[in-house]
């Protein structure tokens, strides 16, 4: 291959804008160079599909102007509402549900009667009688039984 390949000419500009000199160079070169001939054919087809694609345009409908003006008024209406009000409108459900949850938790903590063990009750809740009669004995360990008995003895000693 004596001449330079012509792919650079093909990629540099649209085929439709190539000069006569460039087209002649391409024609001469592609007579002997198969790869450039394929490249030229591909470039020609690419140009055809690009032209076809450029011809596809969608025209506006008669209602388009009305649509845009309606969207514009809607946008202006949104913008005219104060920012804090818009924030409240979007967040009010979340804020309300959080307030309800907080109120419910407060009611559970302070208003409902306490159900926990009174402070002055001894740590060991087992009386000597209950141990002896065997109430709840299934759940007691040997150490618990012994500590309950000796605690009662200690109290009696005092």
């Amino acid at each position: 291959m004596k001449e330079k390949h012509i792919t650079e000419i093909l990629d540099n500009a649209a085929i439709a804008s190539l000069s006569e000199v460039e087209l002649k160079e391409i024609r001469v070169h592609t007579k002997d160079c198969v790869s450039c001939r394929d490249a030229f054919e591909a470039a020609q087809l690419a140009a055809v599909i690009l032209k076809s694609r450029a011809q596809v345009t969608i025209e506006p409908t008669p209602f388009f102007q009305t649509r845009v003006m309606a969207a514009l008024r809607e946008q202006q209406a949104v913008e005219s509402v104060p920012a804090m009000w818009r924030l409240w409108k979007s967040a009010k459900v979340l804020v309300s549900s959080m307030a309800v949850t907080t109120a419910a938790l407060a009611a559970l903590s302070f208003v409902l009667p306490a159900t926990s063990t009174p402070v002055d009750q001894p740590v060991s809740a087992y009386s000597a009688e209950s141990v002896i009669i065997g109430q709840g004995s299934d759940e007691l360990t040997y150490e618990q039984v012994m500590s309950t008995i000796y605690a009662d003895d200690d109290e009696a000693g005092k």
Partner: protein, 196 residues
């Protein structure tokens, strides 16, 4: 400039007139990016809403049409950028119509068969081949090779420098040609297999 000034002063009817007058131009730009009417209309509406909010920046140095074209191009580019690029098209992905069109063109009877239907098939094929390129490269190529726009015109419409336009167009043209070459090569091999 009068219309623009009136619209800047809050005259809604002046802006409505701008929409009416320049809708075809804005639709033509949006059509370069989208094929579906709903998408083109959505883009065009977005473009005019953006133009309304930016009216204050229009100083009247260039034409209102040129200013709108630039907003249109950049808005559409942003919309397209968010969508995923498609993988490279192979010969097995071609529809029967597209394959038929390629065969016709290769046989040299494309000119005789230049019907509206054929043009749409070619346009579909262009969309599918262009989809692998970055949207900016697609635009440069479509405007220069498809619409015969000059480098300067593309630079004005996009806000890019002329050298950037040249580079994008060169890169896109090369990639499109290579993709087409590959398709033709695969199709040739496929035809050979069928004939055996």
């Amino acid at each position: 400039m009068d219309l623009a000034r009136q619209a800047q002063d809050g005259d809604e009817s002046a802006f409505a007139e701008i929409v009416r007058r320049y809708s075809p131009r804005v639709f033509s730009v949006a059509s370069r990016f989208f094929r579906q009417r709903s998408l083109v209309e959505e883009a065009a509406q977005e473009i005019f809403l953006k133009a309304y909010t930016q009216l204050g920046s229009f100083e009247g140095r260039g034409s209102l049409e040129g200013w709108l074209t630039r907003i249109a191009t950049n808005t559409c580019l942003n919309m397209v950028r968010s969508s995923k690029r498609r993988p490279e098209l192979t010969v097995s992905d071609l529809t029967d119509d597209e394959e038929g069109w390629l065969n016709q063109q290769s046989a040299g009877d494309g000119r005789e068969q230049a019907s509206v239907e054929n043009s749409l098939v070619a346009a579909d094929l262009a969309d599918r081949l262009l989809a692998v390129l970055p949207p900016e490269d697609q635009q440069a190529l479509l405007m220069i090779d498809g619409e015969d726009a000059s480098i300067k015109e593309v630079a004005e419409a996009t806000g890019w420098s002329e050298s950037k336009v040249k580079v994008r167009a060169f890169r896109a043209r090369k990639k499109l040609r290579e993709a087409m070459e590959k398709l033709l090569d695969h199709r040739g091999k496929k035809l050979e297999q069928v004939s055996k």
